[in-house]
């Protein structure tokens, strides 16, 4: 039933709209329409008096539809629909005409054209509105469980907050232990706490929490379902050890004859083939690396038929021989498990560019390493017990150069953005070097020191005033080896001189990027990401934790590189967001979804192929499309691809859109 008593409310938006568009004239013109019962203007429709004006007018003029001409619907559609609902009008009978972004702003220099365009946009919106149906929100049930992907500090915080609030929480971490990059750090700026002291209690809380189910050395295989009702397949990678039996005693590590670079120590230390990440790992369990284990490599070759097993030859089983609980079975125990959850928090963190990516800065030399690698050398629990030594020869460095912005702020050769944490961790590392080795000279080559956090600027001054770190403003261009030393070719842009210094070690503050593999994960979750692997939020300022997929939130460095303080805050934030959903017995869902006219539908399946949410199936008996309302997001891809008009999104029907477009495209 087409509407006949429409109210049109034109917002001035201060001078944003009224400064260009002649709002009075617009109201008059629109008021001439037969189907418009009332039209008016107001300085801020979104203000409380503005909303009151709409509510009162609905009642006074008995309006059956409302158009508010103001800003983008992403901002105030909800405000206006709520106002209408309070006055007893179905909220889906309210439409927004965006005359600010579409008319006022782009045509600031031509008020006449802007005014005419505003009238046209409103007329088109009225035509669309007239065929709107009254709708009620859908209700969907909620599974009161949460999934946290990533066991770094952000994920740990999110999981603990959720679990403490009584939500059963599943945590998936791809490394054998939780802890993330923070677990690798020496000390943290600006408080100089050691992660081994402040992070491990939280790790143990996760490990022992009755509400947390922990899957480490596991990856997300598949995600299906929708907000409140996700089904997640998790791959538990092969450990070749029965973790129910393993006590983490470490006897096996002592007998394993194989030695490879440790991932946890970023190549600064070796580990055995059967290994435990470190003494404080959670869970404290041993696993075998199948690429280096003598026995597993041999068995693989036999399996592939590359070698024939000889009789009476005993292949290495030293670890199993000393394992008292008999946990080591050498059997491929990879398995897929399924979990059902209502919300998902993605906290996949970051990685840094490798030193090798910068040959001009000496990245190919063993004593030129990334700052994250240097964290291991500064860590009291690291390979050098916190007193840095050169990886090449184990000598204590008498001089160290730090280079900031390696790959950062460099759209031509690296990433365009500032990696945000490097200034502070470099200052911290310089301090720690001076603390461990007071006689070692430290040269810090920076472009700008960015110390914008609580206590950060003061921390920088301490490094300058108390620790005797030398700060030189200018980007280093080249590092090369001469004899036993590394020659750093820099500049001091402040005095305007070329600066050269020979040092024993060079630390590169390389650019941060989203974690490896995050793009594949994002595809599984259907959430957007950028070319550097950062997950994209819905609104940078106001919805930094939300993704376009309802029920999926992001936290910590997965969104963009950030320090521990901010990561923890976001972890808690994402947990609160999840709790907000999980605390409702039912979830409300926008009813603007695809519907099938089974009289017309021929069951061709084109809509099904287009649906990114897997919401469409073909009924095998009636041979027509069927929409799962819980999965449908109302995007309209199905409708656009339907050869007839059998599948359409409610209130976005073909007739409505065509009439609106006709008006917009009308020739003057």
């Amino acid at each position: 039933m087409a509407m006949k008593r429409i109210g049109v409310f034109i917002c001035h938006c201060g001078r944003n709209i009224a400064g260009t568009v002649d709002v009075k004239r617009v109201a008059e013109e629109i008021g001439k329409r037969e189907d418009v019962a009332f039209s008016t203007t107001y300085v801020f429709m979104c203000s409380q008096p503005g909303q009151k004006l709409i509510e009162d007018s609905i009642k006074e003029y008995n309006l059956d539809g409302v158009v508010v001409a103001n800003c983008s619907p992403t901002l105030h559609e909800r405000t206006m629909r709520n106002a209408a609902a309070r006055a007893g009008l179905n909220p889906y009978r309210v439409e927004i005409a965006n005359i600010r972004e579409w008319a006022a702003w782009p045509h600031e220099d031509n008020p006449e054209a802007a005014t005419r365009k505003a009238i046209r946009i409103i007329n088109a919106t009225i035509e669309k509105l007239k065929a709107n149906a009254s709708l009620e929100p859908l209700e969907v049930p909620v599974i009161r469980r949460a999934l946290v992907i990533g066991g770094g500090v952000a994920g740990i915080q999110a999981a603990l907050d959720l679990a403490d609030a009584g939500i059963e929480t599943v945590m998936v971490e791809r490394e054998p232990s939780i802890g993330g990059n923070m677990f690798r750090l020496s000390e943290t700026f600006p408080t100089l706490d050691c992660p081994q002291c402040i992070l491990t209690p939280k790790m143990n809380d996760v490990g022992g929490h009755p509400n947390i189910k922990l899957y480490t050395y596991s990856e997300i295989e598949d995600v299906s379902g929708f907000m409140g009702n996700f089904k997640v397949k998790i791959k538990k990678k092969a450990t070749f050890v029965d973790w129910d039996k393993c006590t983490g005693c470490g006897e096996c590590l002592r007998v394993c004859p194989v030695s490879v670079k440790s991932e946890y120590d970023l190549g600064m230390k070796d580990r055995t083939s059967i290994y435990i990440v470190n003494e404080q790992a959670v869970p404290l369990k041993a696993l075998i690396d199948q690429d280096s284990c003598i026995r597993l490599k041999f068995e693989k070759k036999v399996q592939e038929g590359k070698i024939k097993p000889k009789k009476n030859v005993k292949i290495c089983s030293k670890c199993a021989d000393v394992c008292e609980p008999e946990a080591i079975h050498f059997k491929n125990n990879e398995e897929i498990v399924e979990e059902e959850v209502g919300t998902i928090v993605v906290a996949t963190g970051y990685e840094v560019m490798p030193a090798e990516a910068f040959p001009e800065l000496g990245g190919k030399y063993p004593d030129v390493i990334t700052a994250l690698q240097f964290e291991r050398l500064l860590s009291p629990s690291g390979p050098t017990a916190g007193v840095p030594r050169r990886p090449s020869d184990g000598k204590i460095p008498k001089s160290i150069a730090f280079v900031h912005c390696v790959g950062s702020r460099d759209p031509q050769n690296g990433v365009p953005y500032c990696s945000r944490i490097c200034c502070m961790y470099t200052i911290k590392q310089a301090m720690l070097v001076k603390h461990a080795l007071p006689d070692t000279a430290v040269y810090d080559f920076y472009i700008d020191i960015r110390s914008n956090g609580k206590g950060y600027e003061e921390f920088y001054h301490r490094a300058k005033e108390e620790y005797g770190v030398n700060f030189i403003r200018g980007k280093v261009s080249k590092v090369y080896k001469v004899g036993d030393k590394y020659r750093v070719q820099g500049v001091d842009t402040l005095t305007g001189r070329i600066v050269e210094v020979d040092v024993d070690m060079v630390i590169l503050a390389t650019a941060a990027k989203g974690s490896e593999g995050v793009k594949e994960l994002a595809k599984k979750l259907r959430i957007p990401y950028d070319e550097w692997g950062w997950l994209k939020e819905v609104h940078l300022k106001l919805k930094p934790l939300d993704t376009p997929v309802g029920g999926v939130f992001i936290a910590g460095a997965a969104q963009f590189i950030k320090d521990i303080t901010d990561s923890v805050a976001q972890g808690s934030g994402a947990a609160a967001k999840s709790l907000g959903l999980l605390s409702k017995p039912q979830l409300e869902k926008e009813p603007l979804l695809a519907r099938v006219d089974t009289e017309i539908c021929a069951g061709c399946g084109r809509c099904k192929d287009q649906c990114a949410y897997g919401a469409i199936t073909i009924d095998p008996i009636r041979h027509v499309s069927v929409v799962n309302e819980a999965l449908c997001e109302g995007c309209g891809a199905c409708s656009a691809n339907c050869p007839t008009t059998a599948i359409q999104v409610v209130n976005f029907k073909k007739g409505q859109i065509i009439r609106a477009v006709d008006i917009l495209a009308e020739v003057f």
Partner: protein
Amino acid sequence: MELKKIMFYPGCTLKGVAKNLEDSTVESARVLGYDFIELPGWTCCGAVYGLAQDSVKFTIANVRNLIRAQEYAEKIRDNRLVAVCSMCYNNLRRAHLDVMKNRDKLQTLDLFMDEEPDYKGEINVQHYLTFLKEEGFDKIAENVKKPLKGLKVAPYYGCLLLRPDEVAIDDREDPHILEELLEILGAEVVDYPLKNECCGSYHTVDKKEFVAERTFKLVSVAKEVGADIITTSCPLCFFNLDKRQEIAKKKHSGFEHMPIVYFTQLMAIAFGINDDKVLHFEQHYVSPREVLSRWL
């Protein structure tokens, strides 16, 4: 064996003070089965390329050279034009890329040279190193008669083989093509960190002290990293690194001379060519004879 005909662009300097580069290039190519034919009707490349947006004068001679090559390419059915001088290579290649990208510029030049045929853009300007690599380095290995075993060589690329990016023959910060070749010749390649740093170039005309300082640094560091000899492909780099050692030695007591050779001379020697008419050591300020005596 019949030799394969390849167009060769020598450039001015090779016809005079860099006979050592020209003859060792042509002779080393001959050993590998190529007849390097001097491009008929070539003119000077101009040595440096114009960087101003409105510059056409530095492009015209190069496009004319490319037109000459276009004509000859049809005869020998090979569109490759090989240069060995870094500056010639850089100029010819940049001119080609420039006019391919800016068709207006090409049109202006074609109109200006209205008696010449138009340039069709099909000439593949290659540096000798790239040519060799594409043809297969294993061919070289087969012809090594006197491996340069024990000769410690610093490979020096200079600027114009690596920069700007569009003409680079290898990774601009960490090139390896010359190292690869030298290793095939049996030489011991030192890790020479200044291999892509400028020698001071044309300043050798009016500011030779600056160039002598560059030479001092480039040679000293080569010595520090253990080199006996530096090898290059550019006659200007060669002149600066070789001849400017004279001033460097006057200014820096304790500075020791180091011979400079073209990589093509090393190739010729490794191929067993020990002929003064090819190697022309008389054109060197610092004689390489002693350092190379074991293979001569």
